[in-house]
Amino acid sequence: MTLEHYLILSALLFCIGLLGALTRRNAVVVLFSIEIMLNAANLNFIAFWRFSSNPEALHGPLFTLFTIAVAAAEVAVGLALIIAVYRHFKTVDLEQLDTLKEE
């Protein structure tokens, strides 16, 4: 397999995640669309590392480890925020959370 295959796969996965984040109304689904996008980026890091001229430096796996840790923190905080929003507004529907619009 060439690097191009991996890059196209990861671009496709990123776009699927973007589609979910842009088109769904449920905040939880938007959160896991963002997870899909982060995972696509991780796949890129690993693929570039595997095909790099200096794989001994291990930049790809190290960076991916750090990304995974940050993503885990992001999920924890994001879910806590969603639960807080749900307790306050009684919904996680992003179209109904429009208090700032003042209709």
Partner: protein
């Protein structure tokens, strides 16, 4: 040859899993599709000889993130979502257009025009070297990351807890 078959099978599973996760009306089914997506991505990491990252992917994403998402769904909306309401937001068409435009006009040309290396060099198992790297040049990053995780944990508890206290105050007032 085996590698190519494995790649294509995993790629198809990953794309289908992600699509189902994003488009499915039932959120619980969506989370399980998401776990399948994470698992196939872990398989792709193994195919790229990043065995430690594959293990971490399973531990963190399927073990922790998936369960966390399940709990968040059960704590919030009705699970099945079988009512007639739309799943997509009002501007879904423009979201679709933006996604397709980004894929076709931004990502694909960037990949095709880049001067990519063709062959992968043989590499040794990297877990031991990874541990040593984390201790020697990247120890500060590791510590900062630990601090970030702790802060995120405390922040998550505080955010989820604070909302409940606010609600109790409101119900006391009324």
């Amino acid at each position: 040859m085996t590698q190519e078959i494995t790649f294509w099978v995993l790629a198809v599973i990953a794309v289908l899993g992600a699509l189902v996760a994003v488009r499915r009306r039932n959120l619980i089914h969506g989370v399980f599709a998401l776990m399948i997506f994470f698992a196939s991505l872990s398989g792709l990491f193994l195919l790229l000889l990043a065995e430690f990252i594959a293990a971490v992917q399973i531990l963190v994403y399927i073990g922790a993130v998936g369960i966390l998402l399940l709990f968040a769904i059960m704590l919030t909306e009705r699970v099945t979502g079988d009512d007639a309401r739309r799943v997509t937001s009002r501007g879904w068409f423009w979201g679709l257009v933006a996604t397709i435009v980004i894929f076709v006009y931004l990502l694909l040309p960037a990949i095709q025009e880049a001067n990519l290396p063709e062959t992968a060099q043989p590499i040794k198992p990297s877990v031991e070297a990874l541990g040593k790297k984390l201790m020697n040049p990247y120890v500060v990053t590791l510590e900062v990351l630990a601090l970030l995780l702790t802060a995120a944990l405390i922040g998550a508890v505080a955010a989820a807890q604070g909302a409940r206290e606010n609600k109790e105050e409101q119900s006391d007032d009324s």
